[in-house]
Amino acid sequence: MKAAVIRFPGSNCDQDCFIALSEVLGVETHYVWHKETSLDAFDLIVLPGGFSYGDYLRCGAIARFSPVMQSVVDAAKQGKAVLGICNGFQILCEAHLLPGTLVRNQSLHFICEHRRLRVENIDTPWTCATWTGTLLNIPIAHGEGCYVADDATLLELNAHRQILLRYTDENGAATAAANPNGSAQNIAGICNRARNVFGLMPHPERACDPRLGSTDGKVIFESILATLGARKAA
């Protein structure tokens, strides 16, 4: 089992992802510079958070055309596991691997704080080690995390149970007050229909060590690693 953490110019959560995967979860993890063109050696591909290309034009708009992205698209189409966190989520949307996009927080504030996320669907490789309705305590850190999609796309996301995480209050209610950025339907994370591409604004890699205040993010990585491990054994 090998994981890749892609580094774009301006990525800044790459080390957090690397440490979460390698030290906390014990996975052989490699950094992959965005100019590389092959991801054949990897089972899990992570696009970390940050400000790739300084967020010029739109978040993720330029990173999407990095040389490595063609390999990410090819890998995603082959069914490989691709995870986009924060800026990684924005890049996956720009690359059309996930529907919709992320725009400026409605409050215009950059928000960096722990949030409650409700697990909406455990029938996916990213959430199978938890339970539907579980509340996860995971931090967000973004200025452009307001998820936007047209009505038809939102209907489709719901119909195919692609919304995996929603922002909620302490009681698990997805209220407007619990929505930190104005995202449609309190959406915090979605997957593609095939379930192998997952993007989320919160940072599970920053919630993998009790010294950081929460270990709830581990369940995302444990889920995908269990799925990939079972596939390899089969």
């Binding site: 409050s107 215009l108 936007v148």
Partner: protein
């Protein structure tokens, strides 16, 4: 040749920057302002590129059709 590209948020997409600027204009003594929408204006110098290719780049890179409309003007 010069190409001008104007990218604007779609009407259906909330533009919080525009709302904040409108409110600031109200505070600066212009309460008549009803709305402000903020987009991008790009000036491109290009030789010998065909218009279809420029439109493709407007759609794929310079704007995101999920949230934005663009207008391309060639001079």
């Amino acid at each position: 040749m010069k190409a001008k590209v104007i990218v604007m948020p779609k009407q259906s997409v909330l533009d919080p920057q525009g709302v904040a600027v409108r409110d600031a204009m109200h505070h600066h003594g212009l309460p008549q302002v009803k709305s402000v929408r903020i987009g991008k204006f790009m000036e491109i110098e290009v030789e010998g590129a065909d218009e279809a290719k420029l439109h493709e780049i407007c759609r794929d890179l310079l704007s995101n059709p999920v949230i934005e409309d663009y207008r391309l003007e060639l001079q």
